[in-house]
């Protein structure tokens, strides 16, 4: 008999909930025709973003190219992603978990953590019963299944929710922890990547239990702090706090857009980049941030990236300022005989936007003017749609569809409009699709 790692069952009760094949399930649950059939989303990206369990069973994996999917699974239904609907359903997912506990971390669009500690008495249920109720509410309200893990901390809750999938509900109390970890490969522990796995394997550590049983001094000597913390959690200690509340700020902002067919037209590619810069700046202003360092890159047809990084003379949140610096850089990057498939921009060194500081060169006045201008631009966009007004530099990217091929297909919800809806604005309620007789 192996001794347990820890004696308490749930000193803390942390849930991890994961939507099963989330995007594909969103599609299947609103369209009965798709149920029981292999469904893949991500048509607009040219690769599988999410696949139903029927598609997984036929060997379709995440990131697989569409041509490959059609070869392996000719009957697959490949759909363009409808992020609007997925986001609406994701919000519902979190709202349902919040019915039971106010402490919810929206970790990704399709997964969240919840802290149930202390709720047994007010809810008059055991932790497992609360988890069951949450799962039942989610399954019925959203029309597809979720996998739930209950454990003393986040790292173990992640293991618990993956233990049985789809539609699993697994509780790992501290006392039983060692039995589960003995069967869990160390590379499947949340936060342990390739490098760490290789290092652990060199030391002969193969399972999560083996890692958890290593002496503290050994772990501290060989690994950095995050891995020491994972080691602590694997021993049943609660270390990683839940990050509740909405994301309020960013360290970097990135906008990358692919277009088809690939283009060698300098004006067109440059307009694509300008559009990305405009969109990135829109997000900057939304969070009242300014950037001081910009990285641009071009991706060629054969997936080679070429980029340049440059500093700005001062923080800004306006595309005009950024384009002045990136235009000459673009000319350096752009090779005339090459076909490009994507452009991207990353804004770094973000700080809070404030244009109050006086200077010698009248910058303040200029920035104030730009700031007034963009306040109006943002108001117009909020009222009439995101691309009502745009810079001349991105004109060609706005007048051409992003994709000429099937990748340009719109999600069905954007084509089935209710009276009073426009292609840009729809009711914020998910829709059942298909004919209703």
């Amino acid at each position: 008999m192996e001794p347990p790692l820890t004696l308490g069952s749930f000193p803390r009760a942390i849930l991890h909930i994961d939507g099963d094949a989330f995007f594909a399930s969103c599609e299947q649950s609103r369209r009965p025709k798709l149920q029981g059939r292999p469904v893949v989303t991500g048509k607009e990206r040219g690769i599988a973003a999410s696949m139903s369990y029927e598609a997984k069973a036929r060997g379709v994996t995440r990131g697989m190219r569409l041509a490959e999917i059609r070869k392996r699974c000719p009957e697959a239904v490949i759909l363009p992603s409808d992020y609007e609907t997925y986001s609406l359903l994701s919000k519902r997912f979190f709202a349902i978990v919040r019915r039971y506990t106010p402490e919810v971390e929206a970790y990704a669009i399709d997964e969240c953590f919840g802290d149930l500690t202390g709720l047994r008495r007010p809810l008059r249920m055991s932790y497992l019963q609360i988890a069951e109720r949450i799962k039942r509410d989610l399954d019925t309200a959203l029309g597809f299944t979720f996998s739930v893990g209950l454990a003393p901390n986040k790292v173990i809750a992640k293991i618990a929710s993956t233990w049985e999938k789809p539609s699993g509900l697994t509780a790992i109390p501290g006392r039983e922890l060692h039995r589960f970890l003995a069967q869990w490969p160390v590379e499947k522990v949340w936060g342990i990547g390739h490098q760490t796995t290789a290092l652990l394997h060199k030391h002969g550590v193969k399972t999560a239990l083996h890692f958890a049983r290593q002496p503290e001094a050994w772990v501290k000597k060989h690994f950095s702090k995050p891995f020491y913390q994972i080691w602590q959690e694997l021993n049943g200690i609660y270390v990683f706090e839940l990050v509740t509340g909405e994301q309020e700020t960013y360290h970097t902002i990135q906008k990358v857009k692919t277009f088809t067919p690939p283009s060698g037209n300098r004006e067109f590619v440059s307009a694509q980049l300008a559009k990305n810069i405009e969109n990135a700046c829109m997000k900057l202003r939304k969070y009242q941030l300014a950037t001081e360092r910009v990285l641009i890159f071009l991706r060629s047809q054969d997936f080679h990236d070429k980029g340049l990084e440059m500093d700005l003379s001062g923080p800004t949140s306006f595309p005009n300022d950024i384009l002045r610096v990136t235009s000459p850089a673009f000319d350096d990057l752009f090779a005339p005989a090459t076909l490009y498939r994507a452009t991207g921009v990353i804004l770094c060194k973000l700080s809070e936007a404030s244009y109050g500081q006086l200077d010698l060169f009248g910058e303040v006045i200029r920035l104030q003017r730009l700031s007034n201008l963009y306040e109006s631009v943002d108001t117009l966009r909020a009222k009439y749609g995101k691309h009502t007004v745009f810079l001349g530099a991105s004109f060609l990217a706005h007048t051409h569809a992003q994709h000429d091929s099937e990748r340009g297909h719109l999600p069905e919800r954007q084509q089935v409009l209710l009276p009073g809806e426009t292609p840009r604005r729809r009711l914020g309620i998910p829709m059942f699709m298909g004919d209703v007789h």
């Binding site: 349902i96 919040r98 019915r99 039971y100 709720l119 007010p122 959203l142 209710l418 059942f432 007789h437």
Partner: protein
């Protein structure tokens, strides 16, 4: 959000002449857990909006005794403030019960024409709700949505159209009811 909760608590206080208990508070602000209600109280106590007596019962705090500020008015009657509107609800609240389970769909076909539901109408439906005899439901038949009356006769159930040209559907196996219709919307 907090000010919204405060208004609901104030409305309770006005109509009941006392503060709610914790379980009443849950109902008033729409929480399903006492812990959430408890946290709300803690937050409001920090702002002096609420107080507790020695036994832990809630007492109205500072904001309950203040005179309501009805905006600055130069002459005549005060303008109608939110104060008067706490007992009204939005169209969303009126039409939608279980917000997280409500979906919209567009009708196509005339099987419910005698119930006044026309092709092109929009429906608000609630997923996973238990259908009662006489409810209009969205069922899943042969991988299609179908809208019919839900009929229960003893232990057996069947679906019936509101159109004499359609035959009732008696399910051979399990009947899959996806949702119950809660409202019909027709925008002209």
């Amino acid at each position: 959000m907090d000010s919204h909760y405060l208004k609901q608590i104030q409305a309770f206080y006005r109509s009941h002449k006392r503060m709610p208990s914790y379980s009443e508070l849950m109902a008033v602000v729409g929480f399903r857990s006492k812990n959430a209600a408890y946290k709300l109280v803690e937050r409001f106590m920090q702002r002096d909006w609420l107080e507790k007596d020695v036994k832990g019962k809630l007492l109205p705090g500072r904001l309950f005794q203040d005179l309501p500020v009805l905006g600055t008015v130069s002459a005549g009657f005060p303008s109608p403030a939110d104060e008067e509107l706490t007992d009204t609800m939005s169209l969303d609240d009126y039409l939608i019960g279980n917000k997280e389970a409500t979906y919209i769909l567009k009708v196509n076909g005339n099987s419910m024409i005698d119930a006044g539901i026309l092709s092109g109408d929009m429906l608000l439906v609630e997923r996973g709700a238990d259908p009662r005899d006489g409810d209009i439901v969205i069922a899943q038949v042969d991988r299609e949505w179908t809208m019919k009356y839900f009929r229960r006769r003893g232990v057996s159930v069947f679906l019936e159209a509101a159109n004499k040209d359609y035959q009732p559907i008696h399910p051979q196996e399990e009947l899959k009811i996806a949702a119950v219709v809660r409202a019909v919307i027709r925008k002209y």
